[in-house]
Symmetry: D2
Subunit: 285 residues, 4 copies
């Protein structure tokens, strides 16, 4: 349909765009057919455009997608008995611009929060503001409120926890890792989220791809990443308690209350994960 | 996350799967930057899996996707002043199986219809059950109800209308084409939908790709296709008043009340469409 | 659950609140049981609070509510053979404040419009921007854009059409009433919406209760009212082409693309409507 | 709008309907204005019709409703400094029929579960299938699957836990109460849900009003109630691990993953709850 009417068009500020390739590969060995849900597709959400994506599955399998309660895209696959390889690959356009930040972004009073954001002030499986409330208020309560207070929470979590693979497990809550002092990116995120929520600041968990664009490449194998978004003023702002830095090229897979809402793979059975490879890197134009 | 529990798994009836390539290319020449919405992505919805899709746009442009009121995927692009080429390409897995049909599927009484289906009994921009009600009741009212009555509507529309490009326009309603006797696939569909709705049978418009799988190839250039879905029993059933045949490989782009809800391209301005090419064909494995 | 943390609370600007009673009564006589959908409940949506509502139906009938595609509340009732009385009654709190207006609110370029607002630039059953585009552009195209242009559209429609019950019917489009020069409030609204959409200004139809608060009481029996909302800047603004005045106490029942989306009563059958009474008036505190 | 067409109407099986009054009253004393969310409105959802409801708040306050992620209705109120009384009262029609049960309802394989039900197989704040999986499989794994297995879970929980007010708190998980052996209705429910989910049976938490219809009246003051719904076959089925009986007149307020999703009151602050009264009883016709 053509509305058929000429309109003048404001020119957007031109933004340099870079190309990024993200993807992953899972090799499973299953004793029996195993229903599985994958959450690995990069979201086509501003400011990122997904211009190409491809699934390949060996042996050939049906991939059934659906959208969950949070608007995330999920893919259901029944892994067959035996060995299976599932590969996801996408090409993205990402703006070559620093991540947004605004030190003057303010905390809202609870009564001012939008209805659909209230959820993110409550406890969830791994984020326990109720049990970390005393610490949150004594540490961060007296500080000036707003963006800088959230940054202070990130600074604290980033220095309090030591990153160590294997130090935590699928059962570890924010309380557990706060006590142990060790965790992986999801734990850093759960703890920072818990402190925010304890202060009535809405915070949600984000899971995605994070390339080493314009930062020294990490020698470790690439992995999925977790960070958080915090509601200040009239929007969500990205904070990353693990890296504690603004980065380029974050590609969101999904968001939710905590890691239980955005699992890269949920298996209804016990297949062996022989290998997992993650890719997130700039692609030459 | 691993639920960690083995479950036995029912084996699905194995279905042969074929590979289908669908896509389109639009070449526009615009005097000024022109905001445009495209609805051309094949839906990843049962029984079809989209295993690969790719957008390419020259010059390089942002493609912003969103989901509309009906759950359809739309892509917003600002066509730049000058010449632009937008290409969409996807690879699908489609079952090698006849389209469902069930001659015993029954019409529901209005009180039995699910809430979200009621909408599709009402008039819309192009489907005018209110104005075609007398004809609908005199022609189809006395017939046995159910699947066969809907088939009778398709048979009638298929023989009453003569397919002819250019015979109708973006303003033509079901009433217009019923009077003229000519139309394209969208008009066949609008008229059949109007008759169904007049009888309180929910019917919705579907827009998509329709390959010539296992049927004699149409010598005309490939085009997008329109057909309808009708609610009988507890689900939507596909009917195609234009081809009036069950087909393989229908790939849905979107559905809605009529063509105004699923437009392949909506331009806010008046660019020249230099060419449009549509592709839908089997892909050798 | 208690978050258990004291927060200071910004004091809202105190707003005087008035109490308003709205409701309606339908008396039907049906030959057979007749499925019917009513859209008459006042929405509890800012700035209005519904503090009491009551349905009474004689004989006693089930009232099944659901929410439609637009978020409107609908009630399904099967009117029994014979005489039935359905009564809806609600008590609202409404702010004693002038309706918002902002002459500086600007039109957005199509590319700037939020995704979910795009729908309201397109043609629908009764609103035909495609067919009224030439008139829209010649009349309103040269004007300064924004709030004042929309007001000019309302001024024109208000003076061009003469209000007359019975002058139009359930089939009358904006084109029809524009030609005839007569209509009721829904026709005024359809015409103004069509002009807005032709200019790429999103406009939607609103159906509701409109009391005579602080205006001279209309001696005619109270009726439901229709007006429109137009997207300017970052929100919907109320315009009323029929009354062409800012009013207090508008209680929205629902909104949609046009009257076909918000019908006070949709019957799947042909009962006789013996009487309909509408009430909307201030309630002494 | 009148579709204008007579249809014959299947007569529903006549069901005797009884009238039930439900409601609650909260008296708070707050030091400062305190934002609060209440979830106390009875849902108008089959088979229950809400024919009247009324909020009264002293002093007069705005009540702002919204619908949460799960489709539950919530009401936001800012409790003023000082004493406030919030009262909710509703009149319902409920069928005089035994609650549905079907001993032949079967468990689905995970791959057969509808997309939107998968969520209810995962851990949440209070329901920990991951940590109770071993017990679940050793106790209930060898049993025949389906409705009877879920009933066996309820029987076990009902006998394993002793009902005792004050024995658990807002922090108590299913693991905690399983160990302590004591709990209130929410704990019974959390534990039974955890066992179901460990077996990949979707289970969700329900919060509502439960009158003593046709059962010996409980001499204790009326309270809100919690039970669960379990997905078997193609629908949710009600189970009540606390009362372990089929009952009449269950009026759902909301459902979610566990009690953290359906809290009768969430306060952003620390007001004193001076008293809470709950009402759920049959109303003479």
């Amino acid at each position: 349909m053509t509305n058929g009417i000429e309109t003048s068009q404001a020119h957007e500020v031109p933004v340099d765009v870079r190309r990024m390739r993200v993807g992953c590969e899972f090799v499973h060995i299953a004793a029996v057919d195993t229903p599985t849900v994958f959450q690995v597709e990069a979201q086509d959400a501003q400011p990122i455009s997904v211009i190409k994506q491809e699934w390949s599955v060996e042996p050939q399998l049906r991939v059934r997608r659906y959208t969950d309660l949070y608007g995330n895209r999920c893919a259901r696959v029944v892994l067959p008995a035996g060995r299976s390889v599932l590969r996801y690959d996408a090409l993205l356009l990402v703006p070559d611009a620093a991540e947004d930040a605004d030190e003057s972004a303010r905390e809202l009073l609870p009564d001012e929060l939008p209805d659909d954001v209230l959820l993110y002030t409550l406890p969830s499986r791994y984020c326990l503001p109720d049990m970390l409330g005393d610490e949150a208020w004594s540490r961060f309560g007296p500080m000036p409120t707003g963006y800088r207070r959230v940054q202070a929470i990130c600074d604290h979590v980033n220095s309090h926890l030591t990153f160590q693979y294997g130090s935590s497990g699928s059962w570890s809550t924010a309380v557990d890792v706060n006590a142990s002092g060790y965790g992986v990116c999801r734990d850093f995120t759960h703890l920072a989220i818990s402190f925010c929520r304890a202060l009535n600041i809405p915070a949600r968990y984000v899971f995605g791809y994070l390339p080493d664009m314009d930062v020294p490449a990490d020698p470790a194998p690439m992995d999925f990443a977790a960070w958080m978004e915090v509601w200040l003023g009239d929007r969500w702002w990205t904070f990353d308690p693990r890296n504690n830095a603004r980065r380029k090229g974050r590609a969101v897979i999904g968001h939710g209350r905590d890691a239980s809402d955005v699992a890269m793979v949920t298996t209804f059975g016990a297949p062996l994960l022989e290998s997992m490879t993650v890719l997130a890197q700039e692609e030459p134009a």
